[in-house]
């Protein structure tokens, strides 16, 4: 019994609502900071927001969030400079 009002089928925003989706990964993207030109093209194409954008001023390459990167490989494919390689995950890491 609710005094406040009814139980509504409502969900609130949260990180990881689908769990630690990095678990789904079979291949892992790895960036070569040397090759990375900080163009952020990869950043734009990541469907999982798993790339922290590179910063030209700070000369910082992109950073992957392996908690959530699903390993689709789009970033590697779309990087015009071949700065990302997909590496097979080792089981049980």
């Amino acid at each position: 019994m609710t005094d406040e009002g009814p139980e509504m089928p409502i969900l609130y925003p949260m990180e990881g609502s689908a769990g630690r989706t990095g678990d789904w990964r079979i291949f892992r993207p790895v960036v070569d900071p040397e090759k990375c030109k900080k163009c952020n093209i990869c950043w734009q194409y990541c469907p999982d927001l798993a790339i922290t954008a590179a910063n030209k001023e700070e000369d910082r390459a992109i950073i992957f969030d392996y908690e959530y990167c699903k390993g689709c490989g789009i970033c590697a494919k779309e990087c015009p400079f071949g700065a990302i390689t997909m590496v097979r995950e080792e089981g049980g890491d």
């Binding site: 969900l11 990180e15 163009c39 194409y45 469907p47 779309e78």
Partner: protein, 299 residues
């Protein structure tokens, strides 16, 4: 409006919390990230049954950071109309945006879509098309291209795709556009333009479903790019006030069929076209011509 890549970084807020339920490489999720991201501070999303209702999250919480109303499959624009009406009465200025699949737009949802357009409701309907009912496992939709294998057309679909944008032009929408996950700044331009206009706006996005298209995840963008380059998916805008089509920059070159890549470049990287016959490819080519011909009439 010339959105640049760096503009994409300055969204009012991120639409997504990380860790959503979309498959790896999902075109719809990527499109949503930017299209809705660009207007994330003032948006109310209406989502009919689709992959989007699933990938937003489940059970514990939701990955979307914008208010989202999931609705019955055939009802999105009507629900949006009701929300918009209430918001107007309350004096609140918000963008009510429908985010619906091709099934929820072109098939079961076409009546609610056309109804809202006809009433000139002030809403934006974005149809992300993966050309099938992805959420139920990939059955034919009205937007399935000729030749594509789906679980209900195992020998390839035989009928032309529905081209909802043309229907919306014929139905006198305020603004109609097509977009692609391969051209995200162009997409964001169109979304921003749309919400700046009062009336019923419609945008269809070619949004790869690597699962249904049987495309390697990593080719998710490439295949969409090829759709533009082969002419399969013409990018354009149409406005009611001018009655004119403007071909979008990424497609301009392909107005001339000469410049287009062969359609096979697009079909060959997709498992859904495995076994496609020459006859089907011809029909697909002819239907592509039909689409361009329609567009050209409004140039």
């Amino acid at each position: 409006m010339g959105t640049k890549l760096k503009d994409l970084m300055n969204n009012p807020k991120e639409v997504f919390y990380k860790g959503h339920f979309a498959c790896a490489g999902c075109g719809s999720a990527l499109a949503l990230r930017h299209a809705i991201g660009a207007i994330a501070d003032k948006v109310i999303l209406v989502v009919p049954a689709s992959c989007t209702s699933v990938y937003q999250g489940s059970g514990k919480g939701v990955s979307f950071n914008v208010p989202t109303i999931n609705t019955a499959f055939a009802s999105s624009d009507s629900v949006a109309s009701g929300i918009k009406a209430a918001m107007e009465i309350k004096g609140k200025d918000v963008h009510v945006v429908v985010w619906a699949g091709d099934g929820g737009t072109a098939d079961i949802g076409i009546a609610t879509l056309i109804g809202a357009c006809d009433r000139e409701e002030d809403i934006l309907h974005i149809m992300y098309s993966n050309n099938v009912y992805s959420n139920t496992g990939g059955q034919r939709s009205g937007d399935t291209p000729i030749g594509a294998r789906t679980s209900t057309t195992p020998d390839g679909n035989t009928t032309a795709r529905k081209m909802v944008p043309f229907i919306m032009m014929a139905d006198n929408a305020k603004y109609v556009a097509t977009a692609s996950v391969a051209h995200l700044t162009d997409l964001v331009d169109k979304v921003k333009k749309a919400v700046s206009l009062k009336g019923f706006k419609f945008i269809q996005i070619d949004a790869t479903c690597p699962v249904a298209w049987k495309v390697d995840f990593s080719n998710s963008i490439e295949v969409a790019r090829l759709a533009v380059q082969t002419g399969i998916w013409p990018l354009f805008e149409w406005e009611r006030d001018t009655g004119k089509v403007i071909i979008s920059r990424p497609s301009q070159k392909y107005l001339d069929k000469e410049n287009r890549k062969p359609i096979k470049e697009w079909t060959e990287i997709q498992g859904r076209f495995r076994g496609v016959t020459e006859k089907q490819l011809k029909a697909l080519d002819a239907d592509t011509d039909r689409q361009w011909n329609f567009i050209k009439k409004f140039l």
